[in-house]
């Protein structure tokens, strides 16, 4: 991943997070404000609904008191025989729009009942137990009717004729028809739960069209049961999405302060939800636009920011590739400009240091070469000097032995001169390493030939040879003679490293970019310092040799575009690893 891509991702993430956070904060703020406004609206509507309910209550009380004050009621009150008035309540109830109406004598005996005409003559003792009905107004009461028990909103009036009293108890059922008289504001609806049973009964939940749907019953049950338990107003939201509603549950208490019903005023949250949805869509649109714009600006900004960095990287790459003269254009005075200047300064110093290093290394190389030459040449020169001195001493002191000494001395001189010639030849070979001639080579066959060549010598040195050759090793391009020389040098090194015998392992393997050749011994091993200097020309850990073997190996491998390394620990042997393409 490029620096620019990473920077772009960071910018994008920052934009998204920032826009998201701002969106959330704005959304939460708007939501809070809207909820407050909705709450205020619902409170106002509920208050309006309460007024509507109170108006109905007052109308019922007014109607009942009107009946009580009518001539009909006064006439009945004055009578002693009520048998002729059995159907009076029904006609009065119909005329005044009441569902329920009972005319009750002073002793509590029903004279006429609109809701249950057959109930004449029965007692309504509760009417006679309240001292002042006029001040009581309308109230809720459980009413037993022919078709079951219901809750009714009742008012009681009294008609008097002299000392005779007639109770007029009338009102309306709290049912679908009553709910339909409550005209709720737009977006609201009213439901009524009649608390007629101990347990919640879905059939007792009514709306203006009759029994409320089962979904309403299921949703409202917890709220109703909470109101039944706490006996106080409760508010809750039910449903989801556009069907969500805020429900105000108002407990309705009866004459004896018993909970007879729960009036549920449902306010639709549709408008709020739709507004929320619109704002959400708008927010998403704005956020998307903001994010898109942010990404575009990030793209431009990252391009602007990373251009000098990219140039710096390109220059660094050139330096890494060996172009030590690469520089970066300094266009700004900011940190990137400072970095460019530092880079230019660094490459400049690197070039200078490299030149100094090359110079010093050249000097060191000459010194090492001189030292090695001196050392190598000193060994054969000393026998030459001794032999010549012996020959001079014999001619001067022992002339009779001079011939014999001369003969022996001549042989020694020739041998040492040959040795000198060989030393010079090696140096010459190292100096004149030819360029490899590339051919198709099977490395396994080369390894097998080497093993066969050194077989007797290894046996004599008590070294066990082990080969692990990959049968699927691909053919590589290389110089057969030079690579054979590499294997020979490594094999000889291994034999020298195991004077007490051991195991020599030659291993080949294919890998992704070419082949690998490993030559391992079980000898003394090398220290890290020895490993570091092992391929330096004229460096050797042995008492004999020129120290050019591994230098030649490295030179050959380098000419084949390969790489050689050594893995070794003292006492655990060494492994030379060659990777060829």
């Amino acid at each position: 991943m490029t620096f620019r891509t990473r920077l772009l991702l960071i910018f994008t993430a920052a934009v998204v997070v920032a826009v998201g956070l701002v969106g959330l904060l704005v959304s939460a703020g708007i939501q809070y404000r809207f909820e407050r406004l909705e709450s205020q609206r619902v409170d106002a509507l509920v208050a309006q609904f309460r007024k509507e309910y109170e108006r109905n209550v007052q109308e019922i009380a007014r109607a009942v008191n009107g009946i009580a004050a009518s001539d009909t009621a006064v006439d009945i009150a004055a009578k002693t025989d009520y048998s002729a008035y059995n159907d009076t309540a029904a006609s009065l109830a119909a005329a005044h729009g009441l569902d329920l109406l009972e005319l009750v004598a002073a002793d509590g005996t029903i004279i006429s009942s609109a809701e249950w005409p057959a109930r004449f003559g029965y007692k309504e003792d509760w009417l006679t137990q309240h001292p002042d009905w006029k001040s009581r107004g309308a109230f809720l009461k459980r009413e037993e009717l022919p078709d079951g028990v219901t809750v009714a909103l009742l008012a009681v009036g009294t008609a008097t004729a002299g000392d005779r009293v007639l109770y007029v108890a009338g009102g309306q059922r709290l049912d679908r028809a009553f709910l339909s008289t409550l005209v709720p504001p737009a977006g609201m609806r009213a439901l009524l739960y009649r608390n007629l049973q101990t347990q919640f009964a879905a059939a007792d939940l009514l709306d203006a069209s009759g029994s409320a749907p089962a979904t309403d019953a299921a949703q409202l049950r917890p709220l109703i049961e909470r109101v039944k338990t706490l006996k106080r107003e409760e508010t809750n939201s039910v449903g989801s999405g556009a069907a969500a509603e805020t429900i105000h549950a108002l407990p309705l208490f009866g004459l004896d302060n018993d909970l007879l019903g729960v009036l549920l005023v449902a306010s639709s949250r549709r408008e709020l939800v739709e507004l929320d949805a619109f704002l959400l869509k708008l927010g998403i649109g704005v956020a998307s636009g903001g994010i898109f714009l942010g990404i575009a600006l990030s793209w431009w900004a990252t391009a602007r920011i990373t251009r000098p960095v990219r140039r710096l990287a390109e220059s660094a790459g050139k330096v890494a590739a060996g172009d030590w003269g690469a520089t970066v254009e300094v266009a700004t005075a900011d940190e990137i400009g400072q970095l460019a200047r530092a880079f230019n300064r660094m490459t400049h110093e690197l070039v200078e240091q490299r030149e100094r290093l090359v110079q010093s290394e050249r000097v060191a190389a000459w010194r090492e070469l001189a030292r090695r030459l001196a050392h190598e040449l000193k060994n054969p020169l000393f026998p030459l000097q001794i032999t010549v001195e012996n020959m001079q001493r014999a001619r001067d002191q022992y002339p009779e032995q001079f011939d014999e000494v001369f003969r022996e001395g001549s042989a020694t001189l020739l041998a040492e001169l040959a040795n000198l010639k060989q030393i010079i030849s090696r140096f010459s070979d190292f100096a004149k390493m030819p360029a490899p001639e590339m051919h198709r080579i099977q490395l396994n066959g080369l390894a097998a030939d080497t093993v066969q060549l050194f077989g007797p010598q290894l046996t004599q040195a008590h070294i066990v040879i082990r080969t692990e050759l990959d049968p699927h090793l691909p053919v590589i391009m290389g110089d057969h003679e030079q690579l054979e020389r590499v294997l020979r040098n490594l094999t000889l090194n291994a034999i020298d490293a195991m004077p007490q015998g051991g195991t020599l392992t030659i291993r080949t393997a294919a890998h992704e970019t070419g082949v690998r050749l490993e030559v391992s011994d079980t000898g003394q091993g090398l220290t890290p310092e020895e490993c570091a200097r092992l391929f330096t020309p004229y460096y050797t850990t042995k008492t004999h040799g020129t120290g050019l073997g591994l230098a030649i190996v490295q030179s050959v491998i380098s000419d084949h575009k390969g790489r050689i390394s050594v893995e070794s620990e003292p006492g655990k042997g060494s492994t030379f690893v060659i990777d060829l393409g």
């Binding site: 048998s83 002729a84 059995n86 159907d87 249950w116 005409p117 057959a118 109930r119 004449f120 003559g121 029965y122 022919p146």
Partner: protein, 398 residues
Amino acid sequence: MWSRFRAGRNVGQASWPVVALERQAPRLAPRLALRLVLRLAPRLVLRQAPRVAPRQARRPVLHIAVVMVCVALAGAATRPRYGGTLRVELHGAFESADPPQTGPGMADLARAFNITLWEGGRRAVYAADENAAGGRPFVDSVEIQLARPPRDQSIDLELGKTDIVELGPNEIRRQQPGRRTWQSQPVRVVALVFSRRIEDFRVREALALAVDRAAILTVLLQRQGEISGALLPQWLSGYAFLFPAAFDLPRARSLAAGAHPLSLGVSDPGLRTIADRIALNARDAGLTVNVAPQGANQGATQGASVDIRLMETRIASADPSRALAALAAAFGLPEPVRAETPDALYAAEHSLLEGFRVVPLFHLPDVYGAGPRVKGGPGITPLGEWRFGDLWIESVHP
């Protein structure tokens, strides 16, 4: 009604000669003689010939003479007139292909009228029969509106849209003072009839004891009719008071223990309020009775889907034995033995009722109201039979 008559209460409007005649009526002779006189005294409103003491019955000639004088005076004031249409409204629908041929009511018109138009459930028109055996009726035709609710009939009568209407208990109370009404003897029997599947007689007796007949008679029937535990009314049998009709709620509760809910079928909407009251009384006794409205034409053998039926049937004969047999048949009871003596008749009726398969509740009269245009009459007999041939129409002066 008879007791009301004897108490001097008059439900009709009569001129002074007629009133005088009425005052003398207890002393008058047998029914046929009296009816002959009344035919000549159209202003007289008299519905039942009084029962007279034997001593008074020995002097009929004197009384007839007195009546004749009165009639002559009355006739001078109002003479019968021919012509016109008598407008009648009935509650019954009679949704049949042909007009009724038996029973009181329209079938009685066949004596003096011929049917000319029949629209079952809506309207019937009868024309005067010029060759009627008792002579041509005064009116040319009788036009009957069917299926009119009692309240509407009463209003139509008030507004002069009709001449004769049926009056229910509540409508009687609402009539203007002086309104002419004709009331028969209690000829309709209202009774509870248990189906065969209610085998436990204790349940049947419990319901019989739970019904507060007095309250129903006083309030719902406006004291029209009589409480009775017998099939035959007191006026016909003379022993009806011997059958118990008491209200005994504690005993009803003890008998009703463990009873299953019962269904009470009622085919006549006019009886619905009584059925509701009975259901309420039954609930006080521990019986659950659910009122189930039924079709109007379901007879004794029909309506098997309900446990109890509240039925009303008519006494069609003045012969007690025949009347009992007819009632037994109507209520689905076994045919009683033909009784020749009151004791035998009582025994036969007692035998019919002892299992509480049928619980008689009330005997109710037929009551009609007549408008001011209607003269003559009464238009019905003590058994509720129509005698519209004796009526004529006069224009009403404002």
